[in-house]
Each structure stands twice: as structure tokens, then as C-alpha cells.
């Protein structure tokens, strides 16, 4: 029997320490019992009062009762400890164990609050350091005229709203004023938004059914989430795209042949333009809606199945089930997807060009931080404005199950 593991040696308190502790505990016990008695008397007294008054306010009575039970538990704990002391076997606790004991004697509600605060502290510190203070200084900078000094710092001169006025009256980028760029990017987003949302919802509904090869199709549909599409856009359709005319010509020829075919059939010019532009944009739209498809698939999976079964029993068609069950239950996630889309597509808006280069062609971040801050604040406000608009627009149609 030499394979028996060595039991973890437990250090017990010495007799002198035990005596000390016993005195302490006895004193504690006396105090607690006295408190308990007082509370019991108060409880009885208050209960009688309550009875004679016939009032319905029991909150005080309940509080007293709670306190009494808490003290009862404490008395019990002290008694158990005293019993252990009489046995002479009380393990010595180190600091951590003592703290653990103290903590586990707390009610769960308190423990939860303490851990809640502990869990949030890292985030909260980051929020103050890396978010709140930069935002505050951005707002302050945007109200100042800042000129770089030789030592590397900036000299501040309070300017009021002059930065903003200058921004809207004097700044231009390739001949367009800030207001023009802003409105055009907002209009772009408002056009793209419904297309992306409808497309991704549609695809999510299709992907949510089981069919042959659905694993494969799903895997491919999430590639745009993973793949850095800006790399492809830069190389194949951005500045270098024109140089690739030879190899890309095919794609354009396809859509030209398509439009020629439509023209010959006799469909009007406007419709053809729309269709071909839609075909050209489909690449962009597919790539922009990866996360939205994820959001919608998760939402569709969360719809309880019994609703569909009930609808089927009632004889509803697939069309009806979609509009009466699926769509209303997905609406909260439509809101989420809308917010994500706006934030995402605003990230690539032309307004950002102002931040890197101003009309004189010098970099703004180093030379005019005040103006830079003003632009980013305007950018942020425009962002918020669109989201608020979408929110108000959709608020009434969002439906919450349960």
C-alpha cells in the first residue's frame, strides 16, 4: 500500500490560539444573541402594531425578519466554530482562505454585484482611457485653432465654432464642398441600405433551409466576412483595374452582351441601365452583406419551431408563414443589421478623404489637428443622424416576441 498519496497536511491551530479564538467567539456569540433578542422583540412589537392598525405596509416588518434570519445564520456559524474548538481541531487558514470564507458567507445577491463590477472593470478602464478621454479632447480640439510648435506640441487658441464654419464654407476636395460630399455619401448609404438588408435577409432565408450542398454554399457565403475584399478591389477594379482591361474585358463584355440582348428584345433604356448597374453592383453587395447574413441566420434559427408547426396545421402557405411569422420575429435583428450596415458603409465614405488630405494637399493630422477634429466630429454626427433616422423610421414596425 505504498501507492497511497500523501494527504495534504493540514495545519491545526495551537491550543493557545484556540483559547484566544474561543474567548473571541464567545464574546461574539453573546453580542449576536443580544442583537437577536432585540430584533425578535422589535419584530413582535411591530407585528402587533401592524395587526392593530390593519395597515398593509409590511416592508419594515419584512426587513426586520430578514435581519433576524441573517443573525441567526451567523450565530449558527459561530456555534459550529465553537464546537470545532472544543474538539481541538480547527485548521489554520491563510489569507486567501480567510478571504474566501468571508466571501462565501455573503449572500448571493451581493456576490453577484461584486463580481459584476469586477468583470466590467477592465472594460470600464479601457472605456475611460481609450474612448472617453480621446473623445473629450477631440471635441475640445475642434473648438480650437491649433498650430504646431517647434518643440513638437501645439499652441491652442480658442476659436469657438470657427473651425466648423470654415469647414463648411472654405474646405474643398477635388472641387466638391464638404456639404456636397456629405449629402452624396448619405444618399449612397440610403440607397445601399435597403438593397443590402433585403438581399441578406433573402439569402439567409434560402440558406436556412436544408438542401444538398448547403454546408458548401454556406462556407462560401461567409468567405467575404473573412477575406479582405479591399485588396481585390484595389488590384482588380481600383486604380489598377484600368490596366487590367485585357483580362477583365470579359466580364464587361458579358454585361454589355446582356444589355444588347435586352435592347433587341425591346425593353426600355432606363430599365436596362438599372439592370446592368445592378449586375455590376452585385459583387459589391454580396461582399458587403456577409455579417448581415450571419445576423439573420442566427435570428432565423432562434424562431421557435412550434410556431411553424401551428401555422402548418392551420393550413398556411409558405408565403403567409414568411410574412406572418418569420418576418415579424426577425424585425429586431433587422434593426441591428441596419445599424451595422450604416456604421460599416460609413467607414468607407468619401468624407474620410478630407481627413487625410486637405485642399492644399498637406496632411491634416499634423498641420491642422483642430480642423481634423472638426471633420471627424461632423462625420460622427452624420453617422448618428442616419442611425437615428433609421431608428425612428423602423421603431414602430419592430415586433418583440414574449
Amino acid at each position: 500500500m505504498d501507492t497511497i498519496k500523501k494527504a495534504r497536511s493540514v495545519k491545526y491551530l495551537s491550543p493557545e490560539q484556540l483559547n484566544l479564538l474561543q474567548d473571541k467567539d464567545l464574546l461574539k456569540l453573546e453580542k449576536l444573541e443580544h442583537k437577536h433578542q432585540l430584533l425578535s422583540e422589535a419584530y413582535v412589537k411591530y407585528a402587533k402594531k401592524q395587526e392593530s392598525k390593519q395597515s398593509s405596509n409590511f416592508s419594515r416588518l419584512r426587513n426586520i425578519g430578514k435581519k433576524r434570519t441573517r443573525i441567526k445564520v451567523q450565530i449558527q456559524r459561530v456555534k459550529i466554530e465553537l464546537m470545532r474548538i472544543e474538539e481541538g481541531k480547527l485548521p489554520q487558514l491563510n489569507l486567501f482562505q480567510r478571504w474566501k470564507k468571508y466571501f462565501s458567507h455573503m449572500p448571493y445577491k451581493k456576490q453577484k454585484v461584486i463580481f459584476g463590477v469586477l468583470f466590467i472593470i477592465p472594460w470600464a478602464v479601457g472605456f475611460i482611457l481609450f474612448f472617453m478621454s480621446p473623445i473629450a479632447s477631440t471635441i475640445w480640439w475642434s473648438l480650437n485653432k491649433m498650430t504646431p510648435q517647434e518643440g513638437g506640441g501645439f499652441s491652442f487658441l480658442y476659436y469657438g465654432l470657427d473651425n466648423y464654419i470654415a469647414l463648411f464654407t472654405r474646405q474643398t476636395l477635388a472641387g466638391a464642398t464638404v456639404l456636397e460630399v456629405l449629402t452624396s455619401s448619405i444618399i449612397d448609404i440610403l440607397i445601399d441600405l435597403p438593397t443590402i438588408i433585403i438581399f441578406s435577409l433573402f439569402i439567409a432565408v434560402l440558406l436556412n433551409t436544408r438542401f444538398k450542398g448547403h454546408q458548401f454554399v454556406k462556407a462560401i457565403f461567409f468567405i467575404p466576412v473573412v477575406y479582405n475584399m479591399t485588396v481585390i478591389n484595389n488590384t482588380l477594379s481600383g486604380a489598377f483595374g484600368a490596366l487590367f482591361g485585357a483580362s477583365l474585358g470579359e466580364g464587361f463584355e458579358l454585361s454589355r452582351a446582356f444589355s444588347d440582348f435586352l435592347m433587341q428584345i425591346g425593353i426600355g433604356n432606363g430599365l436596362v441601365g438599372f439592370l446592368t448597374s445592378a449586375v455590376d453592383r452585385i459583387f459589391l453587395i454580396v461582399n458587403k452583406s456577409g455579417i448581415q447574413i450571419i445576423i439573420f441566420i442566427a435570428a432565423l434559427q432562434a424562431i421557435p419551431n412550434h410556431l411553424y408547426e401551428a401555422a402548418k396545421v392551420e393550413g398556411a402557405t409558405k408565403y403567409e408563414t414568411f410574412w406572418k411569422i418569420t418576418f415579424p420575429l426577425v424585425t429586431p435583428m433587422i434593426l441591428t443589421a441596419v445599424v451595422y450596415t450604416i456604421v460599416d458603409s460609413f467607414g468607407s465614405s468619401d468624407l474620410l478623404m478630407f481627413l487625410t488630405v486637405n485642399s492644399q494637399g498637406t496632411t491634416m493630422a499634423t498641420n491642422q489637428p483642430g480642423m481634423y477634429s472638426a471633420i471627424s466630429i461632423v462625420y460622427f454626427l452624420a453617422n448618428i443622424f442616419i442611425i437615428a433616422f433609421a431608428f425612428l423610421f423602423m421603431r414602430k414596425s419592430v415586433f418583440y416576441y414574449d
Binding site: K112, G126, I203, I223
Partner: protein, 341 residues
Amino acid sequence: MIKGTLNKFKQVIQHKIADWRDGMKVALSSPIKRKVFKQRIGAFIINILKYILLFGLCFVILYPLFLQLAVAFRAPSDVNNPAILWIPGEFSVKNFEVAMVALKYWQALKNSLILACGVTFLQLASTALAGYAFARLKFKGSGILFGLALFTIVVPQTVISLPLLRSLTEMKMVGKPITLFLMAGLGMGIKSGIFIYLFRQFFRGIPVELEDAAYIDGANPFQVFFKIMLPNAKGAIITVALLSFVWQWNDYYFTTLFVTRSNLNFITLTTQQVSVLFGLQQALTDAGVWSLMGQDITKNPLFASMILNTSGILVMMPILVLYFFVQKLFVQGIERSGIVG
């Protein structure tokens, strides 16, 4: 001999046609059966349309990738050859060699991996803790804090970047990857707000009874989180891990601003990708592609574009490999994540 088989074949076909005719007669015999038949045909057609649409869109997604590959394997001497569109005349990996040198591939790959792995791990830790606290460990004012966490999603990074850069420079933290780690660890990394939201929604979806049972058995909230909630949150963890890894990998803005711009030795694949063209001449010499030098090929914009494209593939290769390993888990994770709590 042939005639005999032909006759047999004919008979079989006639038989089949007769069968089919009988079947149709039965199917169309009564109005109810006729209706069922109609519905079946409708469903069949819709199914076919669905397949065409989905696989067509798959093609739309894959098309540029194929195009990239086709261009990448083209021999440098065939750059201007108009006869070659899709399939390269001769397969060559010269482009890859040149792009690898220009990217400083192995060094950049190492840095990218370090950065992405560290950020992913720290971001997972901080956002999961915050998400769980927002979902279950509520205290006075935690609702407001959650609102602020959502607010961080909406604020564009350009608003905070400049003052942040300045204060970090004063603290001499710029130029080291620690800055990015710190931001991720304190829940302020790239799109951390979304991850907090995701985790909160997920934890809200796990039944409370599970936790209560653990509490009755004497677990404290810390134990409940690590032993009950985290093992049950695999879907959310995989989703968040993949997204945060990929977003860090593809991030250019923060990495350049806080690390690479003041410390040119610490390059990642994505930051190096942008400056591939500057070092092209040197890369050609280093890669030992002497045969190309005589044609003054570096001045050909098509060649430059080809190298850029190849380097794009090289940058994305590790991510694609990773994706195809975790793809199944990722899809399942999304389906079970129950983002809608």
C-alpha cells in the same frame, strides 16, 4: 446484334413512357390529385431556381478569387501577351517569389500571427467577461454602461485616433505591439462593442436554471462563469475568435497608426501589402529574377499590378487556410449562437 440491343432499348423506353402515362393519368384523375401534382411541379421549379441563384452567387464570390489565382500563376514574360486570358501559358511561381521577397513574408507573417493571436485571446477574455456581467451580474447602472458599450460601436475610429495617438506618444507606448494588446485587453480593440453585444445576447439565451443549480450546489459567480457558462458558449466563442482574428489580420488603420508608423521594423502582412510596390526593384534583385531585368519590366504597370495581386493572395492565404479548418464550427456556431437572446 446492334439491332437486338436497339430493339431492347426501344422496348424499355416504350415501357417507361407507358408507365409515366399511367402515372400521369392517376395523378390527374381527380381534382385534389391534380392540385397536389401542380404544387409538386411548382416546388420543383422553385427548387431549381434556388439552386441556380445560390450557386450563381457562389460563383460571383469565387470569381475574383479565381481571377486572382489565374493572374498570379501567369509567367512574368506573358504579361503583355493578349492571347492569354484565363489559363496561364506556362505555370510559374516567379510572381510568388518576387512578392514574397517584397512582402518580407516570413517576418511579416510572424508579426501578423503574434499580433492576431494575442489580440484575439485578450479580446475574447475582456469581452466575454463584460458580456456575461451585462447579461447576468446586474447592478445599479449596468444598463447605462451597456448603452455606452453599444455607443462605442457607433463612433468611428477617426474620432478618437488623433488624441489617442498623441497621449500614447507622450506615454512612449507607440511603436510596440503592447499598445494594441492593451487596447484589446481593456475591451477597446477593433469592434469590441460588437463582441460584447454578441456575448451578452448569447449568455442571455442560456437558461437561468443552469446557473441556479450551480449556485445551490455552492458555486460562486466566478465558478459559475468558468465552469458552467463558458463551456456552454462554444458557438459564441468560436464566432468571436474568428471575427476578431480576421479583423485584426486585415486591420490597417490601427496597426499603422500605433505600431508600424513609428516602428518600421514591426511590419505585418497587411501593412506591408500597401508598400509592396516601393520595394519592387530591390525585391526583383533579391529574388534573383535576373532574366526580367533586361526588359525594364518594373516600369510596366501591368507587372506591378500582377505582383500586388499575388501579394494579396499571399496575405490572405493563412486566413483562408484557417477558415477552411474552422469553417464547419463557425457555421454551426452561428446557427447555435442564438444572437437573438
